[in-house]
Subunit: 272 residues, 2 copies
């Protein structure tokens, strides 16, 4: 039977979720049912929450794990009456931080993912629109203002990676697909060659690429292993010849690909 884990917050729940997921991921042998409960920001909601937790504890005969980032003391007190194993994230760390920083925590709710706290929130949204407008080589005239331009064969992961970098870090990422035409010339398209320092290559194993393309266009030449293998080989040759750094995305998530690109290119995240 699955063990139930709650991620509870008076804000979005993102911090409780992220930390809770990371910790639970360390326990491979246990299957978890994960429930996020954001905006638990009133006495009534907290009481209902306690009831839900207790019902789960009773029906599963095992107390749930609760990861919480509740800031309000009254709500936290109510939650602490629940029959659960509590990982109280804020109270574990805020007091020592207060001492080190010689300052009082503001104990204000939902700060970290709010629009007002983040000076460059609008920059992040602009970066998302930049990624959309400069997706798939559709436009190249704004490459001047790009922080990075991803290149690679069709469906190797360029678009989700650009969107993630934009959303998470406010980085302006364009992408340009290297299509068969470009490959026959065996050289970098002219629209890219003057931005060589912004280029970063993505590649992928041919069999994985064929599987992805088959989802979209089953049994097409585009999705055939032979075509995928040819494109990947040519593009990797191009990367090497032109000294374009690249990574193979096959075994990595967009989060990992993005983090690796930032390290490789020496780009700092744009933080609030």
């Amino acid at each position: 039977m699955k063990r139930t884990a709650f991620f509870i917050s008076d804000g979005t729940g993102i911090t409780a979720e992220t930390l809770g997921q990371s910790l639970l991921a360390q326990f491979d042998n246990i299957a978890f049912r994960r429930l996020t409960r954001p905006y638990i920001d009133s006495v009534e909601k907290a009481q209902t929450m306690v009831q839900q937790i207790n019902e789960v504890a009773a029906s599963e005969q095992m107390r749930p794990i609760v990861f919480d980032t509740i800031v309000n003391a009254e709500i936290r007190d109510i939650l602490s009456t629940a029959n659960a194993f509590k990982v109280d994230i804020f109270s574990s760390f805020l007091a020592p931080l207060e001492e080190e920083l010689n300052d009082r925590s503001s104990y204000s709710v939902g700060k970290s993912h709010s629009i007002t706290h983040s000076a460059n929130y609008m920059e992040r949204i602009e970066a998302v629109h930049f990624a959309l407008d400069n997706d798939d080589g559709g436009r190249t005239r704004h490459y001047d203002s790009a922080d990075i331009i991803l290149v690679g064969v069709s469906r190797c992961g360029k678009t989700p990676t650009c969107l993630y970098m934009a959303m998470q870090y406010g980085i302006r990422a364009a992408n340009y697909p290297l299509t068969e035409d470009d490959m026959e010339h065996l050289q970098l398209p002219s629209s890219l060659s003057k931005y060589k320092d912004k280029l970063f290559g993505l590649t992928i194993d041919a069999d994985r690429l064929a599987a992805i393309r088959n989802e979209r266009k089953p049994n097409s030449r585009y999705a055939s292993y032979a075509q995928c293998e040819f494109e990947v080989r040519e593009v990797e040759n191009l990367f090497q010849r032109e000294n374009i750094k690249f990574i193979n995305t096959t075994h990595f998530s967009v989060e990992e690909i993005s983090a690796k690109i930032l390290v490789e290119k020496g780009i700092e995240r744009r933080f609030k």
Copy 2:
């Protein structure tokens, strides 16, 4: 002077960043310089890291704050020699969790944001492509497989919200802009009316909308306050008349909007 904070990880650094940012956001009076250092996964990198931290401590005459999620004991030991105030996230919580779960942590690196750990990682990427393909009312024939369809005036935040819900939660979100034509009819477009249970409305203050539209098309009728005010009023009337739940996005981030929509619609996140 700014106080320096490091987010250090042997993986992507996302967990260290997210928790560190949340904690630092509680200290309004202090300005922080934030540096993320992912993939610190070798003895050499750890030693270089210690050197960097010590240099910052010396030059700023104030030890940096270090948030870390290092799993490997050898690397953690090296890091602990740095002149820093350490918030050691994993070691604070893993031992108590091991006891509660009656299981040993696998102490494996970079689990939570990896492709292999996440059973539905491909589902998330598919959801991103779904959001892109079904953006801006471009196609309506896949609404059958949408989890949610966001509606609202142009530039009220539909697209970034759809992409965030897809990327973060694997939710298939389409969006449909209510344009002037639709408003004059004062009824729901026929392509939407049969999916009424999937609809969710976004609205926005007219002056904020005018500011956003002016960035794109300065001094246009589209961006005028009068036009924005008219559109917002008509659309809010439509939402009320048709009993479509909606929220005003003006003061919320995409993270907050997404979390609120999931609560309102009772949609559970699709977790790994």
